[in-house]
C-alpha cells in the first residue's frame, strides 16, 4: 500500500484534526491557515499533485471516502452560503467526557453533539455546484488520466461496514445507469464497472430500492447535452468572493460521500417532514437539487482551489512567465509548427491555404481585455462556401476536436434552434441555475454548423436563441435569464460558423472557401482526407495553439506610427475602401498573426502581411459578391 508519507492524501482529516487539537492550548495559533498552507506546500512538491486521484477519471466508488481528491471543473451554479458548526462539543461515547471537535471540512458531526454548548463556533462556507468542464475533448481527458500517478485500489472502498457498502453500490448503479443511457459503449474501465454492476444486482434485494428512486431522476445540470461525469458540491471555506460563475478550477479537497447525507435527504420524503415546518418549506425539487444523494453528487471540501488559465494537459502547470525555459524553446519552434499546421489544415479546407491561415488565427483568438462594453481580441470566423455533401462540416469539426481542449458542435437545425436551451435560466422552484448550451468555459470552441439550417419557422424560443448567439458573437456576453431580470455574464468563447452562403449571424470575419476540388470528386476527396496524424504531431499542434493564446503582446510606438500612416494613406486613396471597423479587424488580424508566429510584438512585416491577407480575403469576397449578386 501507500507509504506513510502519503497520509496527507489518504487521511487529510487526520492532519486537520491533529492541527486543531494542537491549537486548543493556544487560541491564537491560526491553525486553519496553517492547515491550508500545509496542503498547499505538499501539493507544490514535485509531481505531488499527480499522486492525488482525480474525480474526473476515477470512478467514485474507487475513491476512499474522506481522502484527498482533485476535480477539474467549471462552477456551474453558486448556492447560498451556509452556516455550519466550525467547532462543537460532543460527548465521547466511551469516556462520557465532553470533547471539542472540529467541524471544518466535514458534512456530518459526530454523535452526541451538544447543541447548546457555549463553545460552539458557527462558521460560514460557500457551496458551488461544479460540473466537469463542458465540451472537454477526449484527448484531454485521456492525457490527464494517463499522467496520473494516483494508485487507487478498488478494494479500499469495499472494506468498511455493511451499511456503507450498500450506498456505494447504490452509486455504482446510478453511475452505470447514466452511462448506459448516454454512452452505449463504455470506456476502457468497462470490465471493472461491469463487475460492479453485477455485484450490485446481486445485492439489490438487500438494499432498499427506494433510495435509488429519487436519485436516478436527478438532472445533473450539465451545460451541454450528452455530457457525463460526476458533478460535485464544492464547499469553499475561504475567499469565495474571488470565484466567479463559469470559472474553471482544479480543486483539491476532501471527498465526502457520507451515506448520512443521502439518508437525511431520503427521510425527508418519507414521514418526518410533517413534524418539522422549517424543513418542509423547501420544495421537493429544491431538496433534491441542494442535497442530492452523496453517492451521485459527492461533496468536496476544498483545501486548495487552483484556477486553470488553460485546460491543456500538455502544457506545464506553471504559468508561462514562471517557466521561461519552456517559453523560449516553444517560441523558437512556433513558426515551424505553424507551417506544419498550415500544411495539415489546408487539405481539410479543400486546399484553400488562405482559409487555413484564417482558421489558425481564429483558433488562437482570445478576448484579452474589455474596453467598457467592447471585447477586444475576439475573432469570430464565418467560413462560408462549405460543401454540404458527405457531412463535410462534421468531419471538419472532428479535426477541430482533435486540436483544442474543449469544443462543442452545435448543428443549427431548426429543431435545435427551437428546442435547445442556449441561455441558462434560473429555476426558482428548485432554486438553481438551469444550465444552457452557452454556459461554457473560457476558450471553448463553439462550432456552429449553419449548413444544417433549413427553411422553416423559428418560434419564440428560436428567435431568442438566435439573438443570444448574436449577442455572444458581438459582445462576448450571455444574458442569463433570472425571470424578473436578466443578468449579463461576460464570456470568452471562440465561435466558428460554417455556412453555405454568408451566415445569418454576425461575425468578425468572413472567408469564402475556395475549393480546389471539383464538385463531382468532392465526395471521394472528402472520404480520403479523413486523416489521422501522428500523435506526436497532434500534440505539437495542441501545445502550439494553447501557447499562442497565452502570449503577451505589444505594439511599439514606431509601428503605431506606421500603422497610422498606412491607414491615412489608404483612406486618402479611397475613403470607402477602409472604415474604422476594417482597421479594428486588421489590428486583430495583425495581433493574431504575430502571435501565431511566436512574435510578442507587432513588426512592420507582420503588419504588411496582415494587410496582405486581408486584401486577399476581401478581393475574394468581392469576387464572390459578383458571382452571387443577390447577396448583400
Amino acid at each position: 500500500m501507500m507509504p506513510s508519507t502519503h497520509d496527507w492524501i489518504n487521511n487529510p482529516l487526520g492532519v486537520v484534526e491533529g492541527m486543531f487539537a494542537a491549537s486548543q492550548n493556544n487560541p491564537n495559533s491560526g491553525w486553519e491557515a496553517k492547515a491550508v498552507e500545509f496542503f498547499k506546500d505538499h501539493l507544490k512538491e514535485k509531481d505531488a499533485h499527480t499522486w492525488v486521484p482525480s474525480l474526473n477519471d476515477v470512478p467514485l466508488h474507487y475513491l476512499k471516502p474522506n481522502s484527498l481528491v482533485k476535480f477539474r471543473c467549471l462552477i456551474q451554479d453558486m448556492f447560498d452560503p451556509e452556516f455550519y458548526m466550525g467547532v462543537y462539543e460532543a460527548v465521547d461515547p466511551s469516556t462520557k467526557a465532553k470533547v471539542l471537535r472540529c467541524g471544518k471540512y466535514k458534512d456530518v458531526t459526530e454523535c452526541g453533539v451538544d447543541f447548546d454548548s457555549r463553545n460552539t463556533v458557527t462558521a460560514e462556507r460557500q457551496t458551488f455546484y461544479c460540473v466537469p468542464i463542458p465540451g472537454e475533448n477526449p484527448w484531454v481527458k485521456e492525457s490527464y488520466a494517463g499522467s496520473s500517478q494516483a494508485r487507487v485500489v478498488p478494494s479500499t472502498s469495499y472494506a468498511p461496514t455493511r451499511q456503507k457498502r450498500s450506498y456505494e453500490e447504490d452509486d455504482d448503479m446510478d453511475d452505470m445507469d447514466t452511462q448506459m443511457q448516454r454512452e452505449p459503449h463504455t470506456g476502457p474501465q468497462s470490465p471493472t464497472e461491469q463487475h460492479g454492476n453485477g455485484d450490485c444486482k446481486r445485492r439489490e434485494t438487500e438494499a432498499p430500492s427506494s433510495q435509488t428512486a429519487p436519485a436516478s431522476h436527478l438532472d445533473l445540470n450539465f451545460p451541454l447535452p450528452g455530457e457525463k461525469g460526476p458533478s460535485c458540491l464544492v464547499k469553499v471555506y475561504e475567499d469565495w468572493d474571488g470565484f466567479k460563475l463559469n470559472d474553471t478550477l482544479e480543486v483539491f479537497g476532501i471527498l465526502s460521500v457520507s451515506p448520512a447525507l443521502s439518508a437525511l435527504a431520503d427521510k425527508k420524503d418519507a414521514s418526518s417532514s410533517l413534524l418539522d415546518p422549517t424543513e418542509c418549506m423547501e420544495t421537493a425539487e429544491e431538496q433534491r437539487v441542494h442535497s442530492p444523494p452523496a453517492s451521485l453528487v459527492p461533496r468536496l471540501h476544498v483545501l486548495y482551489a487552483k484556477p486553470l488559465p488553460h485546460n491543456n494537459p500538455l502544457l506545464p502547470s506553471a504559468t508561462l512567465e514562471d517557466n521561461s525555459a519552456f517559453l523560449s524553446s516553444t517560441l523558437s519552434e512556433m513558426a515551424s509548427v505553424r507551417a506544419e499546421l498550415l500544411t495539415f489544415l489546408t487539405p481539410i479546407l479543400l486546399g484553400d491555404a488562405l482559409a487555413a491561415e484564417y482558421l489558425i488565427l481564429h483558433l488562437i483568438s482570445n478576448v484579452y481585455s474589455r474596453r467598457d462594453v467592447l471585447p477586444l481580441g475576439k475573432f469570430t470566423l464565418n467560413l462560408s462556401g462549405c460543401p454540404t455533401v458527405a457531412s463535410y462540416t462534421e468531419r471538419f469539426y472532428q479535426i477541430i476536436q482533435q486540436l483544442v481542449p474543449s469544443s462543442y458542435y452545435l448543428g443549427m437545425s431548426l429543431q435545435n434552434m427551437n428546442q435547445m436551451r442556449f441561455v441558462p435560466k434560473k429555476d426558482y422552484s428548485a432554486n438553481r441555475l438551469v444550465s444552457g448550451a452557452l454556459q461554457l468555459a473560457r476558450n471553448t470552441s463553439l462550432f456552429l454548423d449553419e449548413t444544417q439550417l433549413e427553411q422553416g419557422q423559428l418560434d419564440t424560443a428560436g428567435v431568442r436563441n438566435v439573438t443570444a448567439l448574436g449577442n455572444l458573437i458581438t459582445w462576448q456576453k450571455v444574458d442569463y435569464d433570472f425571470n424578473y431580470h436578466q443578468m449579463e455574464f461576460p464570456c470568452n468563447i471562440n465561435v466558428l460558423i460554417a455556412s453555405e452562403g454568408r451566415s445569418l449571424l454576425p461575425s468578425d470575419c468572413q472567408i469564402h472557401l475556395q475549393s480546389q476540388i471539383t464538385p463531382p470528386h468532392m465526395e471521394e476527396y472528402l472520404s480520403s482526407i479523413h486523416v489521422h496524424p501522428q500523435a506526436s504531431q497532434l500534440n505539437k499542434f495542441r501545445m502550439y495553439l494553447s501557447v499562442a493564446r497565452l502570449l503577451n503582446y505589444s505594439i511599439s510606438d514606431e509601428v503605431t506610427k506606421s500603422v497610422e500612416d498606412d491607414f491615412v494613406d489608404m483612406r486618402k486613396d479611397d475613403p470607402q475602401s477602409i472604415s474604422a471597423e476594417d482597421l479594428h479587424r486588421m489590428l486583430v488580424v495583425a495581433r493574431l498573426l504575430s502571435l501565431s508566429l511566436g512574435q510578442t510584438s507587432l513588426s512592420r512585416d507582420s503588419w504588411l502581411r496582415a494587410k496582405h491577407i486581408e486584401l486577399l480575403r476581401r478581393s475574394r469576397m468581392e469576387q464572390h459578391t459578383c458571382v452571387n449578386g443577390n447577396e448583400p
Binding site: M78, D80, P81, F83, Y84, M85, K106, D107, V108, T109, E110, V113, F115, D116, S117, R118, T120, T122, A123, E124, D241, K244, L245, N246, A260, L261, A263, L264, K267, S272, D276, P277, T278, S369, D372, V373, L374, L376, K426, Y428, W475, F482, Y484, H485, M487, P490, Y553, I555, V563, E564, F567, R571, S579, A580, L583, H584, L587, V588, R591, L602
Partner: protein, 835 residues
C-alpha cells in the same frame, strides 16, 4: 406598572440560577462595567443560536408541577410565561384582569415573528434591563421630534410635535394596532437603546410593545383595539446587503433589501396545542417549541397515563408564510449569481408581498440546526438560516404612479460628495465628462455631449394645474448614420451605465414588449400586468437599436411615450395609464444601408416625421473623411489594442465616478431658469424663426424651444448649478444647431430647414412638387380631350417639356397631388381624367 421591568428581571435571575448559565453578575457592579461584560458575552452568545435543549423541557416540567394546584388550568402556560419580558402583561392579564385599563382589556397577540422567549438563547438581560430600555422607550415615544421628516407616511403630521405620539393618535382613530418605528430615530434619540434594539430584538421589542401600550391606553383609555399595539421597527442600518450577512448577525435585527422571488401558501402554524384527557376531560395547553409539541404523558388531574389527545380546533394557530428573497441585481458583484434568503412572514404580514416586488425587509436573522434524525447518531453540521420578518417596505410600490425618491436616493458618502463637488468645480467638467463617456468610441464629441445631457435630463416641471400636465424633462436622441459607425456600441455603453436602462432592438421587439401586457399567471390564474421595456426604464433610458426596422404599429406606441410620457393600455379588462418617463436613445440605419448625402434625413431613414419631431436632437454619425481625423482615429484604435488596462484607467474618468456624478446631479440638482437665461432663450428662439422667414420657411417650432430649455437645464446640472445661466443656453443652442445642421439640412439648397423634420419635406421640395404638378396639369390640358393616357407616355412627355430633370418619384408625387385634387385617377399603367 411603574417599573415593570424589574419583575421580569427578578424572575429571570431566578431562572438563571440554573446551571447552564454560568455567570450572573452581582447587582452592585457599576452599570458601565456591566455593559461591557454584556458586550463580551454577546460575542460568546452569537455562535450559539439555540436554546439549551435540556433546559427546554426540564425547567418547564417542575414549574408546571408547582403551579399545578391552580384550579384554572387554562391559564397555566401563561403563568409560566410571566417570567419572560415578552409575555409580561399579555394573555395572562386578560384572564386574571379586571378590565380596569385599556391595556388589560385588550388582548395581546402573540408575536411569532419574535418567537417565544424560551427559544431564545439565555441572554443575561438583567444588566440591560436594569438600564431600563422601557423608560427610555417611553421617553423616546413621548418626546421624539423629527424636524427633517420627508417620509410620505408622515404627511399631514405636525413636524414640531412628538412624532410617535401623533402616530398613536392616528392608531386610535384608524384602529390598526401597528406602530412602525424608524430605527434611525431611535439611534438619534438614544444610541444605547438602538444598540440594544439591534442586538437583542427579541427582548427589547416586547418591552417596546409594553411602553407603547401603556402610553396609548393612558392617553386613549376608551379606545378599542383588536389587539394590543405591536411595534415594528424598520430601517435598522445593521446590514444592507444580503451578501454581507454572516454568523455574527444571528439573532440580531437586520434590514436587507432584495426582490421577492417566491411566496408559499399560507401555512397555519400551531402556537399552542390544546390537549384534553380522554378520561376526565381535563384540558391543558402546551406551547409549541421549535416545531415540536411536548405531549404531556400523564394527565395531571386523574394521573392516567397517555390519556391526553390533541384537540385541533381549540389549539391556537398563527398564519405563516415563506417568502424567498433574492439579492437585487444592483447589489451584485459581477460574475456571481444572486444569493437568496428565506423569510418567514407572520400574521398580518402574510401576503403583503408578491413575487417580483422589490422590498426592504427588517427582521431577526435566525439559524436553526438541522434537526437530528432520531435514527441517526450523527447529524449534518449545517444550520438552516432564515429571517423572521417584522417589517416589509416595498421600494417600488410607487414606481407605477409617482416618483419614489426613497429608492432613487443613492446614499453618497461625504467623501464621495466631496470628490464629485470638486469635479464639478473644474471649469472643463463638461468636456471631461463627455470624453469619459464611452472612451472606446472615437470622437463624435457633440454626440457624446448630447448623450451626456440626456443622461442628466432637464428639470421636471408640473403644469397640471394649468391643464398642461407634466412637462417632459427627458431628452430624446436619435442617432442615424452609416452601419458600422459604432452606434450600437454607444447604445450598449449607455445601457450599461445607467441604473435603469433597457436595451431593445427594433427588429425583435413588439408593441407589447415595449409597453405592457396582461398575462395570466400559470400558477395562480391571476391576471398580472407585465411591464415592457419602456415602463421598466421609467426614470431611465430606453435604448432602441435598429429603430428603423421597427414595425409601424410598434413605433406608434412611442408617440405617446415620447411626448406625454405615459402609456395607456386597455387589455383584458385592465385599463390604466402607466408612467413611462423615459428618455429614448434610438439608433437607425439609413434605408439604403449607406447614407445618401443627396437625400434628407427623412428620406434616408424613412421614419414618420411626427415621430422625428419628438426627438430633441438628431445626430448623423457619418464618416468625416478627413485626413487629420483618420490619423487620430487610427492612433486611438491602435492604442486600444496595446495599452494595458491600467493606462486606460488613468486616462479617463472611472465609469463609477461618472455614474455617481450623474446620480447625484439627478437627485440633488434642480436648476431654475435665471432672468438672463430666459432672455437668451427667447432671443435664440426668435433667431431660429428668423433664419427661415427670409425664404418663406419656418425653421423653428415651439417644440424646439422646449428642447432648448431642457438642454440648457441639463447643462446646468452638469455644472451642479442651481441656476440656468447664459452659458448653459449658449451650449444648448450650439448643440441644437449642430444637430440641426447635420439632420435638417436640405440637400438641395444647403440650408437648415426644420420643416424637413416637422413635415417630412423641405420647403423647397414642397414647392418643387407643386410646380411639377401644375406643369403636368397643363400638359394634360394641352393634350385636349383624351380621357385616358399611358403612364409611360405621359412621363416622357413631361420630361421632354420640362427643363429640370423629372424623376419617376417626382412624377408619381405630382400624379398623386393631382389625384388628391380629384383631377385624375391612376389605375395600373393608365391615367384617366375625372369629369
Amino acid at each position: 406598572m411603574s417599573s415593570p421591568t424589574s419583575t421580569p428581571g427578578g424572575r429571570k435571575r431566578g431562572r438563571n440560577t440554573n446551571p447552564s448559565t454560568p455567570s450572573s453578575e452581582g447587582p452592585t457592579s457599576p452599570p458601565s462595567q456591566r455593559r461591557r461584560g454584556q458586550d463580551s458575552s454577546t460575542g460568546d452568545l452569537m455562535p450559539m443560536p439555540t436554546s439549551p435543549a435540556t433546559d427546554m423541557l426540564s425547567p418547564a416540567a417542575p414549574q408546571d408541577n408547582s403551579l399545578l394546584s391552580s384550579p384554572r388550568p387554562s391559564v397555566l402556560p401563561n403563568e409560566v410565561d410571566m417570567s419572560s419580558p415578552l409575555m409580561y402583561g399579555t394573555p395572562s392579564s386578560r384572564v386574571e384582569g379586571t378590565p380596569r385599563s385599556g391595556v388589560r382589556g385588550t388582548p395581546a397577540r402573540q408575536r411569532p415573528d419574535l418567537g417565544s422567549v424560551r427559544k431564545a438563547p439565555q441572554v443575561d438581560l438583567q444588566s440591560d434591563i436594569r438600564y431600563s430600555p422601557f423608560l427610555v422607550q417611553k421617553r423616546f415615544l413621548q418626546r421624539f421630534i423629527d424636524l427633517t421628516s420627508t417620509e410620505d407616511e408622515n404627511a399631514g403630521l405636525d413636524l414640531n410635535e412628538p412624532l410617535y405620539m401623533q402616530k398613536l393618535e392616528e392608531i386610535s382613530v384608524v384602529g390598526d394596532p401597528v406602530l412602525n418605528v424608524n430605527c434611525l430615530h431611535v439611534q438619534s434619540f438614544d444610541a444605547e437603546l438602538y444598540r440594544q434594539l439591534i442586538c437583542y430584538p427579541q427582548e427589547v421589542i416586547p418591552t417596546f410593545d409594553m411602553a407603547v401600550n401603556e402610553l396609548f391606553f393612558e392617553r386613549f383609555p376608551d379606545s378599542i383595539l383588536e389587539f394590543q399595539i405591536q411595534v415594528r421597527p424598520y430601517n435598522a442600518l445593521k446590514t444592507r446587503n444580503m451578501r454581507n450577512l454572516n454568523p455574527e448577525d444571528i439573532d440580531q435585527l437586520i434590514t436587507i433589501s432584495g426582490m421577492v422571488i417566491r411566496t408559499s401558501q399560507l401555512i397555519p402554524e400551531m402556537q399552542e396545542a390544546f390537549f384534553q384527557c380522554q378520561v376526565c376531560a381535563f384540558s391543558t395547553r402546551v406551547e409549541v417549541d421549535r416545531g415540536r409539541i411536548a405531549e404531556p404523558s400523564v394527565c395531571r388531574n386523574c394521573n392516567t397515563t397517555h390519556s391526553l389527545a390533541i384537540v385541533h380546533n381549540r389549539s391556537v394557530f398563527s398564519d405563516k408564510q415563506m417568502v424567498k428573497i433574492q439579492e437585487s441585481p444592483e447589489d451584485m458583484p459581477a460574475g456571481q449569481t444572486p444569493h437568496t434568503t428565506i423569510v418567514y412572514a407572520h400574521n398580518d404580514l402574510v401576503d403583503k408581498v408578491q413575487p417580483g416586488d422589490r422590498i426592504n425587509i427588517t427582521g431577526v436573522y435566525r439559524a436553526v440546526p438541522m434537526r437530528a434524525n432520531p435514527r441517526q447518531s450523527n447529524v449534518k453540521s449545517v444550520y438552516k438560516t432564515h429571517i423572521d420578518a417584522i417589517h416589509f417596505h416595498k421600494t417600488d410600490e410607487k414606481r407605477l404612479h409617482g416618483l419614489d425618491e426613497d429608492a432613487e436616493q443613492k446614499l453618497f458618502t461625504e467623501d464621495r460628495v466631496q470628490t464629485l463637488k470638486e469635479l464639478a468645480a473644474k471649469p472643463d467638467v463638461y468636456e471631461r465628462l463627455s470624453s469619459a463617456l464611452a472612451p472606446s468610441i472615437y470622437e463624435h464629441e457633440d454626440i457624446k455631449k448630447g448623450i451626456l445631457l440626456q443622461l442628466f435630463g432637464g428639470a421636471r416641471k408640473d403644469f397640471s394645474q394649468t391643464g398642461r400636465g407634466n412637462f417632459r424633462a427627458d431628452v430624446n436622441i436619435l442617432l442615424c448614420g452609416d452601419p458600422g459607425t459604432s452606434k450600437s456600441q454607444l447604445l450598449q455603453y449607455v445601457y450599461n451605465l445607467v441604473p435603469r436602462g433597457q436595451y431593445t432592438s427594433g427588429k425583435g421587439s413588439s408593441a407589447v414588449g415595449l409597453t405592457a401586457y396582461v398575462m395570466r399567471d400559470p400558477e395562480t390564474r391571476q391576471l398580472v400586468l407585465q411591464t415592457g421595456a419602456l415602463v421598466l426604464s421609467d426614470n431611465g433610458i430606453c435604448c432602441i437599436d435598429e429603430f428603423d426596422k421597427m414595425s409601424d404599429s410598434t413605433r406608434s406606441v412611442l408617440h405617446e411615450v415620447m411626448e406625454q410620457q405615459t402609456l395607456s393600455i386597455a387589455k383584458a379588462g385592465i385599463i390604466c395609464q402607466l408612467n413611462a418617463r423615459t428618455s429614448v436613445l434610438a439608433a437607425a440605419n439609413p434605408i439604403e444601408s449607406q447614407w445618401n448625402p443627396k437625400k434628407t434625413t427623412i428620406e434616408n431613414i424613412q421614419l414618420p416625421h411626427t415621430l422625428l419631431s419628438r426627438f430633441d436632437l438628431i445626430f448623423l454619425m457619418l464618416d468625416p473623411q478627413d485626413e487629420a481625423y483618420d490619423r487620430r482615429l487610427a492612433h486611438h484604435l491602435v492604442s486600444l489594442y496595446y495599452q494595458s488596462e491600467e493606462q486606460i484607467e488613468e486616462e479617463f474618468l472611472d465609469m463609477a465616478v461618472l455614474r455617481d456624478y450623474i446620480a447625484y446631479a439627478r437627485t440633488y440638482i434642480n436648476p431654475r431658469l435665471s432672468e438672463e437665461a430666459s432672455q437668451a432663450l427667447i432671443e435664440a428662439y426668435v433667431d431660429m424663426r428668423k433664419i427661415g422667414s427670409g425664404r418663406g420657411m419656418v425653421s423653428a417650432y415651439p417644440r424646439q424651444l422646449e428642447s432648448l430649455i431642457r438642454l440648457a437645464e441639463a447643462h446646468a446640472k452638469v455644472r451642479f448649478s442651481e441656476k440656468v445661466e447664459t452659458i448653459d443656453v449658449e451650449e444648448a443652442k450650439r448643440l441644437h444647431r449642430e444637430a440641426l445642421k447635420q439632420s435638417a439640412t436640405d440637400p438641395r439648397t444647403g440650408f437648415v430647414d426644420i420643416s424637413i423634420l416637422t413635415t417630412g419635406m423641405s420647403a423647397t421640395a414642397r414647392k418643387r412638387k407643386e410646380e411639377v404638378a401644375q406643369a403636368l396639369k397643363k400638359l394634360i390640358q394641352a393634350k385636349g380631350k383624351t380621357p385616358a393616357m399611358k403612364y409611360q407616355q405621359l412621363l416622357e412627355d413631361l420630361r421632354g417639356q420640362s427643363e429640370n430633370a423629372i424623376t419617376k418619384e417626382l412624377f408619381d408625387e405630382a400624379l398623386r397631388a393631382l389625384a388628391d385634387e380629384d383631377y385624375l385617377t391612376v389605375t395600373g399603367k393608365t391615367v384617366r381624367l375625372l369629369a
